[in-house]
Point group: C2
Chain length 344, copies 2
């Protein structure tokens, strides 16, 4: 195969794995969400893209299910019965949904996956309570696992990831508009916000497949590196992505003076562009569209875009390199490449 | 002993049990809260009354710890080693803290236990994230229990209570200012908001003491009835309590047109006072202090105060009646009476 053909094959495989993760998890998610009383269950299904705000069927996107796919692929790579990993994959998706609901409130994001966010349809109180209820539903799902020792370890790992996500999100909120954020600060925040959960996903897949401790640790490392790459690619999409492809509004991150990696790298570059960008980030006046366009251009001139892309590529190589030969499956490699090569 | 002496003895015993619960749980709570990174840990300690907003020692009240005391008393009544129940009691307190943090955001309450609430000191985002982190910390604490089967059942029960609390709080928010709330609606909301967790506390105490299923169910019923009584007494305190004794601002519930039991009973009384109260509850104009005083008087004239007190008394009798002879301990009875006889 040519390099292009290898790339296409990997992308197709990655997409197929996401589709399978979505359909495998679907019955577990419907059961878990069904156990929350109305109208919270309707809101949860809306958030997942199952129906519109009135409960009628809709064509909404239900998110990628990358995290569920990581659980299943990690279990599969350990020769595990992936059916044992499916409730775990569903629990991870519920936790991801819970954090998105609360993050949208904190970030005042009014759209997600191209549709109004839950808080902007039903109010902040509903979004807080629904997040809490999904957090509980995720853990309840794990209590149903057959082996209580596995259930307890899975719960402990998932709640540790939740704690780390809270701390990461807290530091992220606090870093907005601060021009003195270092690359180390950025990495610590991204590790909590994103890599903690992807690392946990891969560890949980290994755990459900009864992998030995060394394999579990290697898969956890894979998920961690992949999560950092994923966050950086998310940052790139937030500035240069095509909203029609990614479903994410462009310019928001810059307008909100977020400390994304391209910006942090640019600000730390000691270039003239860094000085001008720093001035734009230091005021609190709302940015106009032309300010945002100017900021994006400055980040690129200062080398922030290239540095971020390079960083993501390196992390993906590290991720794949962390896998011992026996578990370096096509599926895991395809998911790693997919996470790093979203359209932007 | 005279009746008065019996009452005093029971109150003294109840207070001693609360003090013991607070001191027994303290090391577990400090460990759990210490595992959350700064500055969230400082906020959590502030919320518990351990220190002021700057982290210096303070004389703040750390709450009653009634729920922890219920766990310990239930375990003790089953002849259990209460030391095995202590981490469970601490986990329940963490869940209670998590729900208070989120409830204060939703209810826009600016004081709790006589001090500014976390959201009013550090902002809404911090209060949401701290609540999420304490939810995770509570469940993490339960994963440390020695027997994985007990841990899994405890987690399942506690998360089910969390789900029910979310639904109860949701319905409570939605019932504000609605004059058509029935007593059945009220009871369903109070069951979710309050009784779900007190029932869970008593069940978890029994579970940590390896009680048989029938005893566990009886203790759960005891906690459920006690929780309903506790909520009704809370409603009474919200209208007629002495803030110096209870630490709760008076008039808030009426000013916010809350559907507390005294109000719901009054509105459903078909008296002239009910009509006037209904008119006050149906407008959305902010109530003045004299409106609030008038509303309190109308609730009393319409019999709402008496009906609520009677309801609380009946539920406490039911609670004690639900206990089989072997587990009807002095401690459980003292806590039930304490919950029902707070100053108001």
């Amino acid at each position: 195969m040519t390099l292009r053909a290898v790339h296409n094959f990997s992308t197709d495989l990655g997409q197929a794995l996401l589709r399978r993760a979505r359909s495998d998890c679907d019955p577990f998610l419907r059961r878990a969400i069904g156990s929350i009383r109305e109208p919270l269950a309707t809101m949860a299904g809306y958030h997942r893209g199952w129906w519109n705000a009135h409960g009628s069927m809709s064509e909404g996107s239900s998110g990628k299910a990358l995290r569920a796919a990581l659980v299943l692929a990690a279990a599969g790579a350990c020769d595990g019965d992936t059916s044992a990993a499916t409730p775990v994959a569903a629990a991870v998706e519920l936790v991801h949904d819970f954090t998105l609901l609360h993050d949208d409130v904190m970030d005042r994001d009014s759209t997600r996956r191209g549709r109004p966010t839950v808080w902007s349809v039903w109010g902040i109180d509903s979004a807080i309570l629904l997040g809490d209820a999904l957090h509980a539903a995720a853990i309840r799902a794990l209590t149903q696992l057959r082996d209580p020792s596995v259930a307890v370890e899975a719960i402990m790992r998932l709640e540790t990831a939740c704690r780390d996500m809270c701390i990461g999100q807290f530091e992220d909120c606090r870093s907005e508009g601060r021009p003195d954020v270092t690359i180390d600060d950025y990495l610590r925040i991204a590790a909590g916000k994103t890599a903690a959960l992807t690392a946990c996903c891969c560890a949980l897949g290994a755990l459900s497949a009864n992998a030995d401790r060394a394999t579990l640790a290697a898969l956890e490392q894979f998920g961690y590196e992949l999560g950092l790459a994923f966050q950086v690619v998310d940052d790139l999409i937030g500035i240069w992505g095509d909203p029609a492809v990614t479903g994410k509004p462009v310019g928001n991150d810059l307008g909100r003076r977020k400390s994304s990696l391209p910006v942090v790298a640019a600000l730390n570059s000691r270039t003239g562009a860094a000085v001008e960008l720093g001035a734009l980030y230091q005021t609190t006046v709302a940015m106009t569209q032309s300010d945002i366009d100017r900021a994006a251009a400055l980040v690129e001139v200062a080398g922030g875009r290239q540095a971020a892309q390079q960083y993501a590529d390196t992390r993906i190589q590290n991720a794949i390199g962390a896998l011992p030969d026996g578990v370096r499956s096509e599926d895991l490699v395809a998911l790693a490449q997919l996470a790093c090569r979203r359209e932007h």
